[in-house]
């Protein structure tokens, strides 16, 4: 009687845990995505996402550039799998029932074998990619993919039409030496004219017609 009880318990355990190995192992094998990292990420975050680097090269500033070879994160594939489970029909569930039965008979060996194969297959066939990540001397990510290009464009400050008007209003009260020179002959004497000319000049500086 006790032996039968044990047998039923083992069978129940095998039945209830079938597919668990794959269910637990496969998500743990998720790929990496450099997009989840950013400048200033720490080395632990990088390792958690992409694993260990396959190559490392020092940089003259005391930092280093690491190269990572990683399996691509296929988050879409996992959601596709969930959708697939949702579409299973009666025949499929019957097949799963047979699978459960065989699993009980083999004390879970079938599930172990199939799960191992699935893990192996995933590791072998998942697409891989490489990325270079630079760390500064402070051991934080300096750039991902490629360094900022040499010779960035001349930085510009943004236009403010309100700023032009405000500036011109204040120039009416300012010292005459502050007023613009050239362009348009003599300086207007009336404050209103000065303001109009000042705004016109400001607009001309910004190429506003």
């Amino acid at each position: 009687m006790i032996r039968l009880g044990r047998l039923v318990t083992v069978a129940a355990l095998v039945f209830l845990t079938q597919g668990c190995i794959a269910a637990v192992a496969l998500p743990l094998l998720k790929g990496g995505s450099p997009d989840k990292l950013s400048v200033d990420s720490g080395p632990k975050e990088v390792k958690a996402e992409l694993g260990k680097p396959i190559a490392s090269q020092g940089t003259p500033d005391g930092g280093r550039v690491d190269t990572y070879d990683y399996r691509l994160d296929r988050a879409n594939e996992r959601s596709d799998a969930r959708k697939f489970v949702g579409t299973l029909d009666g025949t499929a569930f019957q097949a799963l029932g047979y699978y459960a039965l065989f699993n009980i008979v083999t004390y879970g060996a079938l599930d172990l074998a199939i799960s191992s194969f699935l893990v192996y297959h995933k590791l072998k066939t998942d697409p891989r990619s490489r990325v270079r990540i630079a760390f500064g001397p402070d051991d934080r990510v300096a750039w991902i993919g490629s360094p900022p290009p040499y010779g960035p464009p001349d930085a510009a400050v943004p236009l403010s039409i309100g700023g032009i008007r405000e500036s011109c209003r204040s120039q009416d009260d300012a010292d005459p030496s502050d007023r613009p020179v050239g362009g348009g002959g003599e300086s207007p004497k009336e404050p209103g004219d000065r303001y109009v000319q000042c705004v016109a000049r400001g607009f001309a500086m910004w190429g506003i017609e």
Binding site: A142, G151, P152, P180, R201, M205, W206
Partner: protein, 345 residues
Amino acid sequence: MNPSWQLRLRRCRGYVLAAALVVTLGHGAPAAAGRADEKVLILAQPLARADAVWMAQAKGFFKEENLQVTVRWVSSGNDALRTFQDGSEEKPGSADFVIVNELLAVHHWQATDGGFAVIAALARDAEGYVAIARSEVTTPEALKGKAVGIEVGSTGAWFLGEYLRAHGMSELDVAVKPVPPDSILTWNLDGDYLAAFFLREPFGARALTTHGSRVHRLATAKGYMSGYMMIGTRKSYLRDHAGVAERLLRALEKGRRYAEEHKAEVIQFAREMFSVEDVAPVEADYTSNERLLGLDQVTVGDFDKLTRWMKEAGLAARPFDRDSFFDADPLRRALPERLAPEFAR
């Protein structure tokens, strides 16, 4: 004396000596801690104008000043300031110093209500700003009534303003056309109406190569103004980290001198740090770069011109206050010979 008393006395001397040792070490410890490397994060763009920083890093000059400096290279000055602004002293990973051009520095000083200060001009460059004109435009007056391409709100735009002003004109006498600098490379000299571009190298040199004798260099900014690289920080940082800016400036001075004498190493740094393959722009920047690390009278004059131009362009949100914009104290303490009399106390 009783031998047992002698023994006690000896022990007492031992205790006194031990106590003295502890006191000495106790006092010595903070001094040693004061010398510990201070972590400093600088935001800068990959430009040879900052080669003093490059060499200070590569040759260990920051380390010699007990600074652990990291430079985060950013692809534009605006990005640098955005990141700098987002950070604060309390936020881990926030930048401590930022290196940007003169326009952005003044703009940021205004935006922070004077909470930002420039501690030194790292470098300046006048020959790196050029006016490239059609071959038939040979005098400043020939630009009158013609279209001129600039990136509005940039140092190139300021150069145009100073150039016209120096020749008795203003932007009202030409037609300013806002264009990106790389459009000079696709300049249609047969159909296009543009007579000239005012911009920063390497676009001028590349345009001369692309368009040959149909264009020429009308002028450089030499004698009109200079484009600057300014190093600045929050005023609160200077208050809370006494002595760090001085150590930084001393290390940069070593880097400046080293960069001046070791062109090959500067070029090599650019190759290795920024994966530069065509080193011609780096060499050109290296050659035209005036390594300044100071605040001299030319700087004072240029900022007078700049702030007047910014006012005319509607970019002056508040009156320029030299004593607020520049914090010359660290430079006065670290490199007093680099300070113009205008900054005397």
